[in-house]
């Protein structure tokens, strides 16, 4: 029982990070209709900014992290306005290719500026907590508790934002029908830039939370990005709650696979389970069915 609970905690921790990444990817996809393959790399690039402020400028940790997230927002919005909007009229495919190009640019830039060395990044909070239960003792790191809190706060915040604010409503309207939204007087361009900004900031937040474990290097976000995409697919690619559920579920499944079945096969087995889910329900757990007029 203790072992089960302990693994569940670890799975939820991993899942929360995946969910954050999935949430950012889905948010951008839902509003602008493009899967951002540069997502993780933009988060990676942003955390190098935090690293530079922390270690070269000597700014305190909280300030470095704040600057990093603000930078990510600007980076996301600028990428949308300056690059993606230019090819928007061509096709979704063109935008997709563009994000692949951005991936290479950010990786190359990071290599040029900061070289390929691994760099360490501190936990935002340190220490572990012991919780004694009937059957034994559970150990939880404070950083993991922080990850839960941050992930939950962001998810709740986004939910409230989309449901109860005007901009949130505008984003939902744009996602549903771009042309109709335009006719209703919604500034669609601003909404696109905003979604990219918020989406990429989420990438930066996940990078900040993951960095103490992954270290900072140009490819640090790649495994998390792959899992984020997988989680998003599992949840249904066009649903924000789906991204959260899919991400958390993937984290938990992976943890249990590793603990109870095989550490070596856990990734393969987790993906197999997802494959089965998608075979049964192709639109994902919470995704909407694609309906097209014939």
């Amino acid at each position: 029982m203790t072992m089960f609970l302990q693994q569940l905690i670890l799975g939820l921790r991993g899942g929360s990070l995946i969910a954050l990444v999935a949430l950012g990817i889905v948010m951008i996809f839902k509003t602008t209709g493009v899967v951002n393959f540069a997502y993780g790399y933009m988060g990676m690039f942003s955390i190098y900014i935090a690293y530079t402020f922390l270690n070269t400028v000597g700014a305190p940790l909280w300030l470095s992290v704040t600057i990093c997230i603000a930078f990510a927002f600007a980076l996301g919005a600028a990428a949308e306005r300056g690059l993606l909007r230019q090819v928007r009229h061509l096709s979704k495919g063109a935008m997709l290719i563009l994000t692949l190009g951005m991936l290479m640019i950010f990786e190359g830039l990071a290599l040029q500026i900061w070289k390929q060395d691994y760099r360490s990044f501190p936990n935002l909070v340190s220490g572990v907590r012991m919780i004694t239960i009937d059957t034994g003792r559970l150990v939880i790191r404070n950083q993991d508790i922080l990850i839960f809190i941050v992930a939950a706060a962001i998810m709740a915040g986004l939910f409230i934002y989309f449901k109860y604010t005007k901009t949130g409503l505008a984003i939902r309207a744009t996602a549903q029908n771009e042309n109709a939204a335009k006719l209703m007087g919604i500034k669609v361009g601003v909404i696109f830039a905003l979604s990219w900004g918020v989406g990429v900031s989420l990438g930066a937040v996940s990078a900040v939370l993951a960095a103490p474990r992954t270290f900072i290097h140009p490819n640090m976000m790649l495994p998390l990005q792959i899992r984020g995409l997988t989680g998003a697919v599992l949840g249904g690619f066009d649903s924000l709650p789906g991204a959260v559920v899919g991400g958390i579920l993937l984290g938990v499944i992976e943890q249990f696979m590793g603990a109870y079945i095989s550490e070596e096969l856990k990734m393969a087995l987790s993906l197999l389970i997802i494959l089965v889910v998608l075979l049964v329900k192709p639109s994902g757990l919470m995704g909407s069915k694609a309906i097209e007029r014939v």
């Binding site: 302990q6 693994q7 670890l10 991993g14 290599l111 390929q116 060395d117 691994y118 760099r119 360490s120 340190s126 220490g127 572990v128 150990v139 790191r141 993951a210 103490p212 474990r213 992954t214 270290f215 290097h217 490819n219 495994p223 943890q255 590793g258 603990a259 550490e263 070596e264 856990k266 990734m267």
Partner: protein, 392 residues
Amino acid sequence: MKRVLVFLVMAIIAIGSFAFAEDGIYEDRVVIGSFQALSGPVAPIGVSMRKGMDAYFNWVNANGGVYGRKIDLIVVDDQFTPSRTVVEVRRLVEQDRVFSIVGGLGTPGILAVMDYLNDRGVPFVYQGGGSSLFAIPPKEYVFTVQPHYTTEGQIAAKYMMETLGAKRVAIVYRADDAGREGLNAMSKWLVDNGYPAALVAKLPVDPSKVTFDSEILKLLELGVDAVYLLMWIPQSPNFLLQAQEYGLDATLVGSYANPDITLIQLAGQAAEGFQALAWVAADPEDEGFLKHIEIYQETFPDELPNAFAAAGFIAAEVFTEGLRRAGENPTREKLARALETMDGWTGFITPEITYGPFDPDDNFCRTGVLQMYVMEVKNQEWTTLHDWITLE
């Protein structure tokens, strides 16, 4: 008719002399090749290893080369991907016509090209990887230098049981061929030497894994005395940081790629007391060691070579010594025979190396280093903790 005949004879002589000239050997230079990960996730290792080779060859060339020939090194970037290694190495051999391959990095890539090079008689000196498959069974033109994980796994077990006096030990290993080889060697040594129950946990970890909570909690629960950590940077400093967070106080003994300043930079205080096996003769007071730093700094001023640069340096040292022994008119065949004459040879930082005449049944005729010592992080520096350990 006579003219045609003369032309034909001359043509045959020209083609003949061209065909008989050894690939990569020219009047003024010897062209050799190497494959390294110069980009991608493993680039920090590949770039460093290349720097070590460059530094040594620059020094040799600045001092007149070998019998007046400069050593010209072509390094290709295979990104640690075996499919690329195959293409790039074939290009080195068939288009660039290199004399020898020196210091290739990465077990998967090495395994992918090893037989090709051996079949064509291209000497392959120094493999940046620890698989015993390079040396066992021996291959006539493949000369290993680094100890392999079968050697290391046994030495680690011997050290933990006999020197540390551990009762309950564990191994945390990369779930790949290298890791499994170390695991098998360790298990076998423990069984053969009367400690069949000492190994209480065998924990495989994915080579890309960054969270070790489950493994550390398991070790805490089992109460182990010592853990053999068969992984390297960046996983090992990460493991140390997490072990410190959870308060794991077992002695951690790392694999030989760990004694490097990068580990201390990444793990900080969590690295204190971490021990690791080592095979590069790196005594800071030794003349050869100081000379190696001097040589390195001639090419890279103010930089200190890390462990991977040292590996590249050793690859270059061993090859150059072989080339010197091969004489004024070297051929691939002569190089292979010359390397076989090495008997306890040591370089500036290369520890004792012995090869022997090629014998398919002699598992030691192509095995390089067979002994290792132990280093420890003390006050944020690597220090020597225990002298050379040899297997009986």
